[in-house]
Symmetry: C4
Subunit: 283 residues, 4 copies
């Protein structure tokens, strides 16, 4: 099934899905076997290769996603989003060093897993692009990654409480997100994921989960598409806000099974995307 057919099937221009990963959409991948399988080397899938028009649409969606993340309070000057190159799964697209709200198509660079621009671009890059490279390496199911600085998500990563699904829109939070504490592997640092070793350690903490918290820093949301990672980053924030607001009160969160079933129902947040997009297009 080619990308154009997927587009026609109603997925719009917000990402891409290979035939096999499509089957996994919305599912919680939990089994160790599946995780190992995903660590197998990646090769480009000729069926998924986008034509130039599709690539252009993908990059436009990446730009829109940058603006949405700013508008929804997920990033400020910092934080970023990337999308895997459907034509070469060992590459990904991400903005050069720039506040997300200012990103245009001409700011997008294509990086390999050594975080080097494939076209010799010499512009300054995000020091934390290793977050993206190292997760894409070990998670073939992941097509897009958001690094969030939403304050309540930051806060959740600094208090000793799990971020659980307060309501069905947070079903993907399942049994709680893992928290990455950089001290445990690297001692005293500047807190940044600015080399391969740190990126790898973060990816190991993430494992097969849809996201992770980072102590004293922020969080990660991954997804099957740009729309999916953006949606998860937004509802991760909404759930974190509700959790923090609850204060001392006990929240009756979704049970693991309810979360699993709700996540399957939520799919990839397609209703939100067009609304969020229209909002940033108007402003």
């Amino acid at each position: 099934m080619g990308i154009n057919n997927l587009l026609k099937a109603g997925f719009g221009r917000r990402g891409f899905l290979s035939g096999s990963s499509l089957l996994l959409t919305g599912a919680l991948l939990g089994a160790a076997e599946e995780t190992k399988a995903k660590l197998a080397p990646l090769t480009a899938d000729p069926e998924a290769e986008p034509d130039p028009q599709d690539k252009s649409a993908l990059l436009e969606d990446l730009v829109t996603a940058n603006h949405i993340l700013q508008d929804q309070g997920i990033v400020d000057g910092y934080g970023h989003i990337s999308v895997r190159n459907p034509a070469n799964p060992n590459h990904f697209f991400i903005s050069r060093w720039l506040a997300p709200d200012l990103v245009t198509v001409s700011d997008i660079v294509e990086l390999d897993f050594d975080c080097v621009p494939v076209n010799g671009d010499t512009r300054k890059l995000y020091s934390e692009r290793w977050i993206h490279a190292e997760i894409y390496k070990v998670r073939p199911d992941v097509k897009s990654i958001v690094h969030t600085h939403a304050p309540t998500v930051v806060l959740m990563g600094t208090i000793n409480e799990p971020l659980l699904p307060v309501y069905h829109m947070g079903g993907f939070l399942g049994t709680g997100l893992p928290t990455f504490d950089i001290r445990k592997s690297f001692g005293m640092t500047n807190m940044l994921i600015n080399d391969a070793a740190r990126g790898k350690a973060l990816a190991q903490t993430l494992a097969d989960k849809p996201g992770a918290l980072m102590r004293g820093h922020g969080g990660i949301a991954v997804g099957n598409s740009i729309m999916h990672s953006v949606g998860r980053s937004v509802y991760m924030k909404v759930n974190a806000e509700m959790h923090i607001q609850a204060g001392d009160r006990k929240i009756e969160t979704l049970s693991p099974e309810e979360a699993h079933l709700a996540e399957a129902g939520n799919q990839e947040f397609p209703k939100d995307w067009d609304m969020w997009k229209r909002k940033v297009m108007k402003s």
Copy 2:
């Protein structure tokens, strides 16, 4: 008394009231007898049949309400509002599957109580339209229903505390809203009210109240008109915000009698509607 006369009498275009239900406006319906009476089969009231111009105005108000609910933080990509068809009380108008902020008149569909479009429309519909159908079935006094996702309302439904009227604008909250917990009737689910049985159970929990909370999901506000259900959904949220913000502090809420008298005084929030409408028209 025809709908045009009601309109002239100052109810504007925000809804409709049959002659009999008009007498109940603003009253708290609490007696079991009345509830049973409301379960009698509904028939169209020829007197209430709107002419095409009135129907057009009603649908425009439904569109405006969709935008207001987004602007006031009651819905995001999810949540919805419906209005009963004044010409056929066994039908209701609601948007097709779409984020409320994007709804236009052409997106409105007319559904019967089996949740089937009466004109053969094949577009995707809200899976939770059963909320609306099952409440309209057993509550003839209800002319409009809002399904809210306001975060503080969601939160109130997940902590074990009643949502009481903090101030007179929440008078309709009376002695507290009932909370629907889908687990009690259906065990492990995706949390959605996506069939008749779940809708019926929710309607039974709602009973004769102006609204209900839904654990791990959101809430419901019903009213005598679009304006009424919208106003209740907004002040349900404002009261929930105050309740949550109070933290450990004891709130001296309205007494049941104060709430009853305040609700009679608040009527249907007509002052807010024009203000909210102007705000979304400008943006």
Copy 3:
């Protein structure tokens, strides 16, 4: 000293001050004798009579104030602001029944202390206009009154804690605002100040203070000018927000003497007015 000279002296167009009340500007009036003196009958001060141009400017400022109160979150569809007629201190200007954000000059009515329009206007009026009439009657120093529905101010009136000055901008809060509980005088009500007796009781609770809280309802801010009452209503809200946000933490509030000195320094919030006005003019 005529109003035009006052205007030239830098008070702008935001209100008016008679020669004697000018001396009291910024002072905290605490002595019982002064309170009694203020209860003496009022007569128009010919010196203070505005020419038509000044009246027009005053009404424009009242309209602007209505919009500012909405923009700053002090009112929603409810709440209101009035200004005493400088040419006849037994009259005041206030909008007819309308959400503050929608008010234009043509919506302003002039009421006497029986809350009757002086020009025979038959349009619907605020049921709570008695708040204004009864305070103006007994507080000759008061030239403008805001009835606030700011949620954190509502909340402060429902928890058993005084609203104290958290910082110097709340200096006017002094030793805390009195709380009016309508139950104490009137038993079970709809919570509204909708007749002379209730207005009088509220004015008695207010006494010589710059504001009051109202259990289950909202609050009152009074001032020497429109700008003054608006500024007090905004900083009453800011202080209430800080108080509520503090949760269980002990706030080291201003001491009564610090509050008194800070209030003298704050004057009438002239720096804010032009900023707030520009914001509503732009939108």
Copy 4:
């Protein structure tokens, strides 16, 4: 190294750095010896003298900073920002008495350390300009100062808890900011820093830190450039908000060494500036 070369080196127009202070950028100055050295008299550095075009750019950036501070919730009608004159380090630029959001280039005045306009300007000035003069006197490394009224920063100064770095963007908060309590030196006051003695006492409390809290008043953020002081004032607020929101929960803040390393990595918040600037240019 002249200012133009610095500008070409990528610092943009947001400030200026003399050759020597450049080396200190991002460093935490902690040693008492260094503090004493900074108290030596200041002389103009001819190399740093801006040409008229650079001065114009500096003042434009100061105006932009005023608008950014309003837009980001750091100031309302009150609070202010200044920048040291690169051509004469004993002078600084600041707006005349005006709400920051209304400031234009023609409102900027140049003051000496006696807080007197150097060009005989007779317009009303901020009574608290002494904050700026007295800090510039003793902190040659400081090129720009923000006086913040962000509510959560105000609140942090009134509860007995240190403002620590919740995440890496607050690295400059190090081991916590000092709190200035005006009562300790001056007894009962109007809380304002409106003379040299109060300014000097505040500067002594600030010492060599990047900022300070002021009980019952607000806070101070200093920096190597306009961009730097603005960035610090914004992230001081974000950290304060997270601290307050945490309520009773224990926050695992950055360790002193992590904070030190993160601060070195954060530099001067250059990614935020262009984003914040674009936002105020659009509105």
